[in-house]
């Protein structure tokens, strides 16, 4: 079916940003995701970040792969061009687009399946190139659109909806990013809009490749007892059927907490995901320290969120390629074509 336009409710003296736009100017089509899906809150945070940064929507470009998460580029910034590519290959398309025009703001949206399995190679190589973009990895630990298979982000011991237990070690996008040279690495939670929005704004403004690993629970296939990527309290609505296409509506936990404190997202079995904000004393500019911290917190079974690492100094792709600032599509053909005389001259060498 065709996507529905989102009804615009014009509110009196609604807050306008620096370029005179209201928050709803950053909306997109109506989401077709499940009620309560973490991805929808990430979408809201992205729209809000662009609004608060007063970026003209048409100056932004949205790129995504394939998956429920990747669909969300349709659900915000309706005045920005979007490119919903093929599964796992968003980084290449985004990199090519950015090479063609480095003057726009690029945001990529992907999922843990899209980025860590089929797309792992492209994800890593975009980081190596330090492509100037924000890469949102909406992580629910599974392949949701194909109905709940484990992704490479599934934790050891996490139980699938159908019961099997994951035995393989997860690929931690943050740890991976830190080893292959990413220059902005963060982690957050779809339920923590404040922290997430702040990180998105920072990531959009970072020069180079920024990645945010966002825990974004799937209420339909990975929100049950035993899942390590769930909103625990939705578990009781779980229903098993021959054609299990029933999805219970669910609100999200909107987490709020102060620096230093630990925010527990309760799991039904008493297990807990701890989200701890980095104390302000933390210096996220030491790659090795950040990596050590990330891996250590993993062992302690808690997810370290916030800005994990940032380094503004490395050259981005354009600089590494010594490419001029003008978009490639804005260079007049006259400047590109050596002309007939030059062609004649260069062929002297072939006689």
């Amino acid at each position: 079916m065709t996507s529905f336009a989102k009804p615009k409710i014009a509110r009196k003296n609604e807050k306008r940003n620096a370029i005179g736009l209201v928050r709803s100017d950053y909306d997109g089509a109506m989401s077709t995701l499940c009620a309560g899906c973490g991805h929808d809150s990430v979408t809201a945070a992205m729209a809000r970040a662009f609004f608060e940064l007063s970026i003209a929507p048409h100056q932004a470009v949205k790129v995504s792969g394939i998956g429920c998460s990747s669909k969300t580029t349709g659900y915000f910034l309706e005045n920005a061009h979007g490119n919903n590519t093929v599964h796992g290959r968003m980084p290449a398309v985004a990199t090519g687009a950015i090479a063609a025009n480095g003057q726009l703001t690029y945001i990529g949206v992907s999922g843990d399946g899209d980025s860590l399995s089929i797309g792992l190679g492209q994800f890593v190589h975009a980081m190596r190139r330090n492509v100037d973009m924000l890469y949102m990895l909406e992580n629910n630990g599974i392949y949701a659109l194909t109905k709940g298979q484990f992704s490479a982000a599934a934790d050891i011991g996490s139980v699938a909806k159908k019961g099997e237990v994951n035995a393989m070690p997860p690929i931690d996008p943050a740890a991976l990013a830190l080893t292959v040279g990413a220059t902005f690495v963060a982690r957050s939670f779809s339920g923590d809009r404040e922290q997430l929005t702040a990180l998105i704004k920072a990531g959009l403004k970072h020069k180079g490749f920024a990645v945010i690993d966002v825990i974004s629970p799937c209420v339909s296939f990975n929100d049950h007892k035993g899942s390590t990527k769930s909103y625990a309290h939705t578990y009781k609505y779980y229903h098993k059927g021959v054609h299990a296409d029933y999805v219970a509506p669910e609100e999200e936990i909107v987490a709020q907490y102060d620096a230093g404190q630990v925010m527990p997202v309760e799991l039904h079995d008493g297990g807990v995901i701890n989200l701890r904000k980095l104390d302000d004393s933390h210096d996220p500019t030491d790659r090795i320290a950040a990596l050590t911290k990330v891996m250590a917190s993993q062992n302690e079974d808690e997810i370290l969120t916030g800005l994990l690492y940032i380094d503004e100094s490395p050259l981005d792709m354009h600089a590494m390629n010594n490419q001029e600032a003008r978009p490639l599509n804005a260079i007049p053909y006259g400047e590109l074509n050596p002309g007939a005389a030059a062609l004649k001259a260069l062929q002297a060498g072939f006689k």
Binding site: G74, G82, A100, E324, L328, N337
Partner: protein
């Protein structure tokens, strides 16, 4: 064998990684400088050092561009391939070998004159350094050959000076080495008078060039600003060429910044994606690869097709299937490039026959891709791409302007009464309008997707809305036929019952075979098809003949089958002549095959 003047073949067999390439290049270029047309074929291994490699130089006053199949003088410098080298000599021909050490596999043929020359011995006596001994041996055999075929040594010396302009110290060394071989041959091979070069004036306005270099140049002149690639033989030198000329012509004088971007991708899936992303965002983009790369790009090819994103794929074919023989030539991706990807997909394909067409068609490909907003394949092969071809000097029309196709500007959008829809056929030419990101604050935006969409660009799962778009895609593809380089018809002097259809690098051998057959009174028409979808003329040509032989370089008759399905030509009018052992086509093969095939008919 009577004396052959300006019409013979010299083949050099060496071990790769011993620097013989430059020596062979020198030999060929010297002949070219004497005004005599030459053809150079490099038969090299998929390896870096230590394996047999051959270089075949055909002297052809008539100026044919294919191989003859003959070898009149075999320079057998590699003991390991001695037997094979001897076997390939044409009766009455000569074999030159280094007799410094006994060649164990040394054999002789009474119909071949074997001439020994102590190259290593002479060079070791003359030169001290191990490395120069090896290099100079190459120059020494060039000298010997020069003496045997009457090569103009002044031309050779001039070339040597050019070659080592940056290292003048080396010039006397090389001259000396040349002399060693030259003098020895003059003294000891008085017999060998059978092969003779005579200066002519037939190479004026010509250049010797490989197709991949020309393709890279074509991308520069066509205004491509973005190239993505992943190294693969035999396509690598396309990007080497593009990079070289961009560095030469596209670096801003003041800022020193590049007006282009080349990205070496992590694999072919990525290079396709990079190219598509850049093109979607308005850069003229291309990616060179070979068969294996096209296989890996298949999913992205369908994405570009369905989203109507301009995309130029350059496939320099090599012998398949799988890894196959990376350093041998074939035309084996004809079916693949016509229909690449899952689902209903059809593409525009161009078939260059020589470096000149590589240059021109690279430009055509960039124009067609943006005009029709679809993938375009430039289907070259190793023979065209990596061998040395004598062609007319490349020329350029400074009035050319790229055809960027139907792109709407902000002004266009503001001027429109109707709202903009990405996939609407506004002009009835089956081609919709595209917009680039950031064109307009509130108009012309669209969401690019490989999933089902309506003509408005909306996501859909509605059968009718889906079908409306794919039906237009089929019509759009068909409408490209007249815009593609037209087939070239070589009509026989008199009305001919039989005809030939072929593409690409088979051209030279076919033209020559036709001439020889015409001399024997057998007239055959010949159409060289230059692109897909096929022009109407193709079907008409087939129908106009009793039998049309499709000559192609693959096992399965891929072009034959494509003609069968994509024209309305009657099956019984099509014959098939196949060559697929990986060697460039020779006129002898074509001639024999045609005689046999026609014989079987009558």
């Amino acid at each position: 064998m009577g004396a052959l003047i300006n019409d013979f073949v010299v083949k050099v067999g060496t071990v790769n990684g011993t620097g013989s390439a430059s020596a062979n290049g020198l030999l060929m270029k010297a002949i070219f400088r004497m005004g005599i047309p030459v053809v150079g074929k490099n038969i090299f291994p998929s390896n870096i050092q230590g394996l047999p490699t051959w270089y075949e130089i055909r002297v052809t006053e008539a100026g044919y561009s294919g191989r003859s199949g003959d070898v009149h003088l075999m320079v057998a410098m590699n003991a390991k391939s001695h037997a094979k080298d001897l076997a390939c000599v044409t009766p009455g021909g000569f074999l030159l070998y280094d007799n410094t050490w006994p060649v164990d596999s040394l054999q002789s043929r009474d119909d071949v004159t074997t001439l020994g020359i102590p190259l290593a011995k002479m060079c070791n006596a003359e030169f001290a350094v191990a490395r120069s001994r090896i290099l100079m041996k190459n120059m020494a055999y060039v000298g010997a050959v020069a003496a045997m075929i009457n090569l103009d040594m002044e031309v050779v010396h001039a070339l040597v000076s050019e070659m080592f302009a940056k290292k003048p110290k080396l010039i006397p060394l090389n001259i000396k080495a040349l002399a060693l071989g030259y003098d020895y041959a003059k003294e000891n091979f008085p017999c060998a008078k059978a092969l003779k070069l005579e200066s002519r004036d037939l190479t004026k306005g010509k250049v010797m060039m490989e197709g991949n270099r020309a393709t890279g140049l074509g991308c520069v002149y066509g205004g491509a600003t973005f190239g993505a690639w992943y190294p693969i033989t035999p396509s690598t030198s396309v990007m080497d060429s593009f990079a070289q000329y961009c560095a030469q012509f596209r670096v801003d004088a003041e800022t020193g910044k590049n007006k282009y971007c080349i990205i070496q991708a992590e694999d072919e899936l990525a290079s396709a994606g990079l190219m598509i992303g850049a093109s979607w965002n308005g850069a003229r983009a291309f990616t060179p690869t070979s068969g294996a790369g096209i296989s890996l790009m298949s999913e992205f090819i369908g994405f570009a097709y369905y989203t109507e994103t301009p995309a130029v794929f350059i496939d320099v074919m090599r012998v398949g299937p799988s890894t196959g023989m990376p350093t041998r030539t074939q035309q084996c991706d004809i079916t693949l490039t016509a229909y690449a990807s899952h689902g209903d997909t059809k593409h525009i394909v161009l078939y260059p026959a020589n470096p000149s067409e590589c240059f021109d068609m690279a430009v055509n490909a960039l124009d067609l891709a943006e005009r029709f907003q679809t993938p375009v394949f430039l289907l070259s092969d190793l023979d065209v791409g990596m061998n040395d071809w004598m062609i007319d000097e490349l020329s350029w029309d400074d009035n050319y302007l790229p055809d960027r196709g139907k792109i709407l500007t902000a002004e266009d959008l503001d001027a429109m009464e109707q709202p903009y829809y990405r996939y609407e056929d506004v002009d009835g030419d089956h081609i919709p309008y595209r917009t680039l990101p950031a064109t307009h604050p509130s108009k012309g935006v669209y969401f690019n997707r490989g999933s089902g969409h309506t003509k408005f660009g909306q996501y859909t799962e509605d059968g009718a809305a889906y079908q409306e778009v794919v039906d237009r895609l089929a019509a759009k593809w068909a409408s490209a036929a007249p815009k593609i380089p037209a087939p070239i018809i070589h009509a026989a002097k008199s009305v001919a019952d039989y005809a030939i259809i072929a593409i690409g690098s088979s051209d030279g051998a076919i033209i020559e075979a036709r001439d020889r057959l015409a001399d024997t009174g057998l007239n055959i028409d010949y159409m060289r098809v230059r692109g897909f979808p096929f022009a109407d003329a193709v079907s008409a040509f087939i129908k106009a003949h009793k039998k049309t032989f499709v000559i192609e370089q693959n096992r399965d008759g891929q072009l034959h089958n494509l003609l069968l399905t994509e024209t309305d030509a009657p099956r019984e009018k099509l014959g098939s002549i196949l060559h697929y052992n990986g060697d460039p086509l020779s006129f002898k093969f074509v001639q024999a095959a045609l005689i046999k095939a026609i014989g079987e008919l009558s």
